[in-house]
């Protein structure tokens, strides 16, 4: 057992740390998503230039070929320094790895480079209005027409659809087959008449996600990834990649939030002293720090296990569940500490921290829904880790 970084891991951490400190572009611009996206594209180009885009990708495909621990270090350090997200998050974390794992040589040639440079943004077309947690029941259909597929249906919760060139689309190609078997994974060109993305306004008032309406859109046969009828297993690879990559960024993000929470407690006066001296708040603050530490240590134990076995296990679901829970409770506690001021949001003259906690409280409501609801994660843990029987 050794929880410290080895000399080579430390060297890598220092290299990442120094590069990020020297090249950090500062906070994202205030204002609309357009400005933010332009800023993130520019940032991704810089990352790519220095070899930090697609660090998990093999070198032959333009990545860095970093080990799991190096990926964890990079993601953790970037989150610690609150470096902006690259523009093509989904292409880097999911699209590229899927093309590398399941794509043809032509697909690798065509798609990988523009993902790395952020020239082409990717989005993910999995969820549908009637197929959320039960993803395999999705209804968007693709019908073969010569050497093309004609696609009709609706997708929802599609992040960055309005900027995306390519959509990782799962559609039903065989309505007769059992639900998991009749699906195919496509790369859909978003820039065509049959595709329309409409922002979906969230409880925060923002439009981060979209609805995508697809009406007889066309996909050439060469854009099938992993073979017709294999869409489910190809999609599962992307989801595994998504969860494995997020953990270490989440850990640093939680650490930053806790630091702000501690500072809020030190600065806020309640009952003649500060919130940091109030026994109830102290107890809740400590409990959150403790749970965050267990989450961090679980992730490192999981990483050691993945390095030994080669594949991320279903235990990763614990981390996502825990992250959502802790992140929500941090914001809840911050609002409690703010007292009456908890109602004032961004823009109000007397809002605490310019309403950052109010936004965090609202945005974090999605944490236990997005990327697998906590309820579904518990099912996965019960069935795949504990071996309990399935109800379905």
């Amino acid at each position: 057992m050794d929880l410290s970084l080895s000399p080579s891991e430390q060297e890598f951490r220092d290299e990442v740390r120094t590069w990020l400190e020297e090249n950090h572009p500062g906070p994202e611009p205030e204002g609309g998503l357009e400005e933010v996206m332009a800023f993130r594209r520019e940032w991704q180009r810089e990352l790519h230039g220095a070899g930090w885009a697609g660090i998990s990708w093999p070198k032959e495909y333009g990545g860095r070929g970093a080990t799991l621990i190096e990926q964890a270090i990079f993601v953790g350090e970037a989150a610690r320094q609150e470096a902006p997200s690259p523009a093509n998050v989904l292409g880097l974390a999911m699209g590229g790895p899927v093309v590398i794992a399941h794509g043809t040589d032509e697909q690798k040639q065509r798609y990988l480079e523009p993902i790395l440079t952020a020239e082409e943004i990717w989005c993910q077309g999995f969820s549908e209005p009637e197929s959320g947690s039960d993803l395999a029941s999705l209804k968007t259909k693709a019908v073969k027409d010569g050497d093309e597929w004609v696609v009709t249906g609706q997708k929802v919760w599609t992040t960055f659809a309005q900027y995306a060139k390519w959509c990782m689309l799962v559609a039903r190609t065989d309505p007769e087959a059992p639900k998991h078997k009749g699906l195919t994974y496509f790369l859909l060109d978003m820039e065509q008449d049959g595709v329309e993305a409409k922002p979906l306004v969230q409880i925060t008032g923002e439009g981060e996600f979209n609805e995508v309406f697809i009406e007889e859109a066309r996909i050439p046969d060469e854009n099938v990834v992993g073979g017709v009828g294999n869409g489910w297993s190809v999609a599962i690879t992307t989801l595994m990649n998504e969860r494995a990559g997020l953990a270490f960024g989440a850990i640093s993000q939680i650490a930053n939030s806790l630091k702000r929470l501690d500072e809020l407690a030190v600065e806020t006066r309640v009952n003649g002293s500060t919130a940091a001296e109030d026994p109830v708040y102290r107890d809740r603050i400590a409990q959150l720090h403790i749970e965050a530490e267990t989450m961090r240590l679980n992730a490192y134990r999981g990483l050691t296990k993945t390095m030994q076995s080669g594949i991320p296990g279903p235990e990763g679901s614990l981390g996502k569940w825990q992250w959502a829970d802790i992140n929500q409770r941090i914001a809840e506690l911050a609002l409690d500490i703010e007292g009456g001021y908890a109602t004032l949001q961004r823009g109000a003259a007397h809002a605490v921290a310019n309403g950052a906690w109010q936004y965090g409280f609202l945005r974090s409501r999605a944490n236990s829904i997005e990327g697998g609801t906590t309820d579904i994660l518990k099912n996965i843990i019960a069935e795949r880790v504990l071996g309990l029987p399935r109800l379905r």
Partner: protein, 374 residues
């Protein structure tokens, strides 16, 4: 970075698991808890032969010189097996003596502790006072070169089986008092947890010579407290693990409404929660155990976190397991209540969850007041 047991640590774990499973079957535990001392000397001797009595004592005194990680591995298995044994109380006394004993005291007692020939225990809390670490009330009243002790210590573990007690006094020193000292009266107390013996110990003018007072005061005993807390937390992790396994096994086999109850989410999600709490406790315990061995400056926070978390998980997981079992889980005949009781008793030992969360709050909020560290 490698967060898993080494082959050697894994070997300690499998030996312990095998030995304890063979020795402590349910019927045997039920026999032992009816005995006066709560354990059998023959078991103790076997543990000594396995090297457990001196596991973390220095090699120069006949111990194995192993670290906190190995100790955590062992106590996790002790908790898993629900083993009734004075191994914990004697280990804690050994750690205190190894750190703060005088050369003569160490020479005299540590080889015996390591070989299992003798046992020690800690006598900290005073009757009628809060059973919290620090603020001990018993006075060490000077009398010539000696000190004289009067009063009553409570919650003394395995006192009737110990050869000596390390007694805390209001000057925060510790004194080594042998069990047969004049003026010492030991009475057994009824504990919620029948797998560990607790005693009250009366001191009526017990005289302690200068050779019997240990070196060091409060701060010198903190490292012992943190290590003891991590070891209790490890025990509670084992308790939680076993209770969870029992719930999962039962949920697979018990059928109601024509299905195994584990197919219902009300039950399966409860089991997932048990896994989360058990794994969290385990991570916190080994993180702290590693810190004790490799990065002692981060031990105070890590130990407080581990004990706070495992104090709660150690009884909540058995509690949830009882609920998953339904009526059968509430019977004396079923073993689950012993796990609930051991976990609940452990929650109060070596600082309870609330006390340790206060330590965590102290440390993290101090950081928030200071300039941002590099």
């Amino acid at each position: 970075m490698y967060f898993d047991l080494t082959d050697e640590q894994q070997a300690i774990k499998s030996t312990a698991k095998e030995f304890l499973a063979a020795r402590y079957k349910s019927e045997r535990i039920r026999e032992l808890i009816e005995t006066e001392l709560g354990f059998e000397q023959s078991d103790w001797e076997e543990m000594a032969e396995l090297g457990w009595t001196g596991l973390a004592l220095p090699e120069q005194w006949g111990g194995q010189g192993l670290g906190m990680v190995e100790l955590a591995v062992l106590f996790e298995e002790i908790g898993y097996a629900l083993a009734p044994s004075p191994l914990f109380s004697s280990t804690a006394a050994g750690l205190a003596l190894a750190r703060n004993g005088t050369d003569e005291q160490r020479e005299r007692w540590l080889p015996k502790l390591a070989s299992g020939e003798a046992r020690g225990t800690l006598a900290l809390f005073d009757a009628g006072r809060p059973a919290l670490i620090g603020g001990f009330a018993m006075e060490a009243r000077p009398d010539g070169d000696d000190v004289v002790l009067d009063g009553e210590k409570v919650l003394v573990e395995d006192a009737a089986a110990a050869d000596f007690l390390l007694v805390a006094t209001s000057d925060t020193r510790r004194h080594l008092v042998e069990r047969d000292a004049e003026g010492l009266t030991i009475s057994a107390e009824d504990s919620i947890d029948p797998t560990r013996r607790l005693h009250s110990v009366r001191f009526d003018g017990v005289r302690v010579g200068p050779e019997a007072t240990l070196n060091g005061t409060q701060e010198d005993y903190r490292p012992v407290l943190w290590r003891g807390a991590v070891a209790v937390a490890a025990e509670s992790t084992g308790v939680a693990q076993r209770a969870m396994e029992m719930a999962v096994a039962y949920a697979k086999e018990r059928e109601q409404f024509g299905r195994p109850i584990g197919a219902y989410q009300a039950v399966s999600h409860r089991c997932a929660q048990m896994l989360l709490e058990t794994e969290n406790a385990r991570s916190a315990v080994y993180g702290a155990a590693w810190a004790a061995d490799a990065e002692p400056e981060s031990l105070p926070k890590a130990a407080a976190m581990a004990k706070a978390y495992a104090s709660d998980a150690g009884w909540r997981v058995p509690d949830a397991s009882i609920q998953a079992h339904g009526g059968i889980g509430f019977t004396w005949e079923h073993d689950l209540h012993f796990f609930l009781k051991r976990g609940r008793a452990n929650a109060s030992r070596f600082g309870d969850a609330r006390w340790h969360r206060e330590r965590v709050a102290d440390l993290v909020l101090a950081e928030a007041g200071a300039p941002v560290p590099a």
